[in-house]
């Protein structure tokens, strides 16, 4: 199993959600986040803000999936979140050892 995390522009959340739904993912976790990357939070090419690092509002989306679905899911999320402008965000995945569904106690892939 893997956990896929995407940090994306907030207005792209709906696109990502529908794309995941279409792919057959039925559960995800969304968190409001803020941060910066290589552009240090300069949100547009135009303004420029010397020597300052801004924290930019983002949305963090987390999805648990089977190993074999991971690559496809990442592709779907990247495609849905892309604007090709700076600050589009990042998507990454990490291996997950254990998942338990709290209500039933199911474990592993069954719990996803």
């Amino acid at each position: 199993m893997r956990l896929i995390t995407a940090v994306i522009k907030p207005f792209k959340l709906d696109d990502v959600k529908s794309a995941l739904q279409a792919f057959g993912v039925h559960g995800l976790t969304v968190t409001e986040a803020s941060g910066y990357g290589r552009q240090r939070g300069h949100t547009e090419v135009y303004r420029g803000a010397e020597y300052q690092i801004d924290l930019v509002p983002k949305v963090k989306v987390e999805v648990l999936c089977d190993d074999e679905d991971a690559e496809d899911l990442i592709g779907v999320m990247v495609k849905a979140a892309q604007t090709s402008r700076i600050g589009d965000g990042k998507v990454w995945s990490v291996p997950v050892e254990t998942v338990v569904r709290v209500r039933t106690g199911e474990r592993g892939p069954d719990a996803i």
């Binding site: 552009q39 420029g48 010397e50 020597y51």
Partner: protein, 777 residues
């Protein structure tokens, strides 16, 4: 090094070409390098500070995209802005950093006229508003200095932000850009290149954009720079940083001579009227405050050939440096006594003074003592003389300690500055000794031996004799100074590590010191030295112990019998009469005194120390005495964190321990597990048995890495060897602890048998080995 400078230049040229190719042929735009990139100082990990300047044309966003995206994609750090000339000037007016960056604006590509109009406009703005901008700049510098400290004296300096660092040179350039002071001279530029090269090497060695030279990188950075080792690197940096700090101070003095007058607001104030040449009138405003003469010609003689003028000390017109070798010291003494700086032009003239004859004439000696006797204001005057190379001309041996770093967390200054600071501190207590002149000279020379290998007190004695001969001191006085240098650590060491109640302690100190005159000098020197070392090196606890030792030694030197060993107070005797077990806690100024009374039995002292350690109390000293068959142990403790714990909790635990109902070892083990793991490699502990320190007991001196419950561990080991601990004293020096135990064997005698002595050392070492947490790799 030339290779580094060439590398920076090449990197700038390469980026210039690349950015120009990204811009292509466009009209009404220009790419401008600002800040460090504007200065062509790109280090391996530097930011690219780039301004896309335009004339308000359409489609500028697309051009910006075309340039910024490839730069981002290359992984370079970019500080970018897209602005018209008026916009850029407006931002600069409200943002000091932007304004400073624009002072280095450099055309890279596009329309050169656009860049030129920005450069001219930004400079005109800077000059036009110099009064306000320069006071902003000074405030920013003061803030930087307060946060980052002084480069010359730091073991892990921030090469950019610290006082004397790269930003100071940028500040001089900014002051110069406003036509207030000259541009940095060749010495400052050379110093700047040295620090810049060190920062360059730091980027290369670490592969990161770092400005702070941390200890781990010293040797590697030194190697990259072709220097011998980390010490050589620190010496080079200290020399460069002092040159820069001194030049920056001088530049800012011109912004407002004589410093900020009292009552003058630190910033803002009224805008200065412009002189016809556009020169800001900051200097004149400062002058006019000092007297009715608007040209600022009030000259006040302060010594022969030396006058005070405009808040500085300058040479009189009639002074003739070339024929007056004493003038250097006379002018310095006058400046320090008046609390004024020596003017740079006066220093330049003083450099023409011929060397003093050896031995020095009496007026030169007197002037040296007057300089040192001025206290804190002598420090900056000394620094100014040092920058002109005048100190080493006076005292050639000074070169060995100049800029020498002290790899010791207790010290906050380099050796030479520490010596001057010690003399300045001693000046404040000069009235407490019969010969203030000797005190000041002893303070100035006490650590001079650190410039030579070996024990610095021993080498220092030899060097001090040479210096005394050079300056022509009478033989008796020279002897006293040599002895003061030789024994300058005697009082603090004995006071903190020996039992002052033991007659042998005082007898030995009296025999070593020999005279009251030397004792006074040593006493004040110990205080001045401790204060100049740093906040961790001197405190009221040490001060009390040292003055206690001095009082006892004075009595001994005067032929009086030593006072009887520390008698118990009446309340402690009353407590003892009850037979115990009983515990009282008395809060003192910053420590607490804990008295434990119980039926006498071996191991009481260290067991109680363990209980105190489990309450996060650091034991400073412990003294055991007996009243009949009752033991009275008095501890002086200091809380490790914050306030003292609740007295009833501590005394409750002590009572449980006395009744045998408390597992102290378990308590401490649990605490040790909760303590943060240490990864730093500490040198192995050292155990020494000292025989002649006391007639009644053997002194066990243990030097180890400090840790909770150290006293308990060692005490238990001693107890397991069948020894009785009568007295314990703990001194912490940063992370290092010196624990001293007065122990007797089962018969109450000092230890004799070689086998027992070896066993004791082994047992103590073993107890310390188990102290190492298992996580240490």
């Amino acid at each position: 090094m030339a290779a580094f400078a060439a590398d920076r230049l090449n990197r700038s040229l390469h980026n210039d070409r690349w950015l120009a190719s990204l811009l292509g042929a466009e009209s009404g735009v220009a790419l401008v390098a600002v800040g460090g990139y504007g200065r062509r100082e790109l280090l391996p990990r530097s930011d690219l500070d780039v301004l896309l300047l335009h004339d308000g044309r359409n489609g500028i966003a697309a051009i910006a995209d075309r340039i910024w995206y490839p730069v981002w994609d290359s992984g370079a750090e970019l500080d970018h802005a897209v602005r018209t000339v008026p916009q850029a000037r407006r931002v600069a007016k409200s943002d000091l950093k932007v304004a400073l960056g624009l002072l280095y604006a450099r055309h890279v590509a596009g329309d050169p006229d656009l860049t030129e109009s920005l450069r001219e406009g930004a400079l005109a703005d800077w000059r036009g508003d110099a009064q306000r901008r320069l006071s902003e700049l000074r405030e920013a510098r003061e803030l930087r200095g307060a946060e980052a400290g002084e480069l010359a004296f730091l073991l892990e300096p921030d090469l950019k932000e610290a006082r004397g660092g790269l930003r100071d040179v940028h500040a001089i350039q900014a002051v110069a850009a406003a036509w207030v002071s000259p541009a940095p001279g060749p010495k400052v530029r050379a110093a700047y290149d040295q620090i810049m090269d060190a920062r360059h090497a730091l980027h290369e060695v670490t592969g990161r954009r770092l400005d702070r030279l941390v200890l781990e990188e010293h040797d590697e950075v030194a190697e990259a720079l072709g220097l011998l080792d980390g010490d050589a690197l620190l010496r080079m940096l200290a020399g460069a940083a002092r040159t820069i700090a001194y030049a920056t101070d001088s530049a800012f003095r011109r912004v407002s001579p004589g410093g900020r007058p009292p009552g003058d607001p630190p910033s803002g104030g009224t805008p200065s009227p412009q002189t016809p040449l556009g020169l800001p009138s900051g200097r004149r405003r400062g002058w006019s405050r000092r007297g009715p003469n608007p040209a600022g010609n009030t000259r006040l003689p302060v010594a022969d050939g030396v006058v005070a003028q405009d808040g500085e000390v300058v040479l009189a017109r009639a002074a003739d440096p070339a024929a007056d070798p004493v003038l250097v010291l006379r002018a310095a003494a006058a400046a320090a006594q008046a609390g004024l700086p020596l003017a740079p032009r006066a220093l330049t003239r003083l450099a023409q003074c011929p060397p003093l004859p050896v031995p020095w004439p009496a007026p030169a000696r007197d002037a040296l003592f007057a300089l040192l006797g001025a206290g804190q204001s002598a420090v900056s005057v000394w620094e100014a003389l040092d920058q002109e190379g005048l100190i080493t001309a006076l005292i050639p041996d000074w070169e060995r300690v100049r800029n020498r770093p002290q790899r010791n967390p207790l010290h906050r200054f380099t050796v030479d500055r520490h010596l001057v600071e010690t003399a300045a501190n001693a000046a404040g207590k000069a009235r407490e000794v019969a010969r203030p002149d000797l005190l000041l000279l002893a303070a100035l020379l006490h650590d001079i031996g650190k410039g030579w290998p070996g024990d610095h007190s021993v080498c220092g004695e030899v060097v001090a004799r040479d210096v005394c001969a050079r300056i022509g001191l009478a033989p008796d006085d020279a002897e006293l100074i040599a002895a003061a240098v030789r024994h300058h650590l005697l009082l603090p060491t004995v006071a903190t590590r020996r039992d002052l109640d033991d007659p042998a302690t005082v007898r030995q100190v009296a025999a070593t010191v020999g005279s009251r005159a030397l004792l006074e000098v040593l006493h004040v020197l110990a205080i001045a030295d401790g204060l100049a070392t740093g906040p961790a090196a001197w405190n009221s606890w040490k001060a009390t112990l040292v003055s206690n030792l001095v009082l006892r030694t004075e009595a001994m030197l005067a032929g009086e019998p030593p006072p009887p060993p520390g008698p118990l107070r009446q309340d402690q005797l009353d407590l003892a009469a009850g037979g115990g077990p009983a515990v009282t806690i008395r809060r003192l100024a910053d420590t607490a005194e804990i008295t434990v009374v119980a039926p006498d039995r071996p191991g009481l002292l260290w067991r109680a120390a363990g209980v105190l350690a489990s309450h996060r109390l650091a034991v400073r000293s412990a003294n055991a005495s007996s009243v009949g068959s009752t033991a009275v142990t008095v501890f002086e403790v200091l809380p490790e964190f914050g306030d003292l714990p609740d007295a009833s909790l501590v005394s409750g635990d002590l009572r449980r321990m006395l009744a045998g109902r408390l597992d102290v070892a378990d308590r401490l083990d649990r605490r040790a597990q909760a303590a943060p793991p240490r990864f730093a490699l500490a040198p192995p502990p050292k155990v020494t048995l000292v025989d002649d320190a006391s007639e009644l007991a053997t002194v066990v001196e243990v030097r180890a890495h400090d840790g909770p419950g150290l006293l308990w561990r060692i005490g238990r080991a001693l107890g397991e060897c069948g020894l009785d601990v009568r007295t314990a004293r703990v001194e912490t020096l940063g992370a290092e602890a010196v624990d001293v135990f007065y122990v007797t064997d089962a018969d109450g005698k000092p230890l004799t048998g070689t086998e027992l002595r070896r066993d004791v050392v082994d047992a103590v070492l073993n107890s310390l080995r188990t102290q190492e947490p298992p996580s240490v790799r």
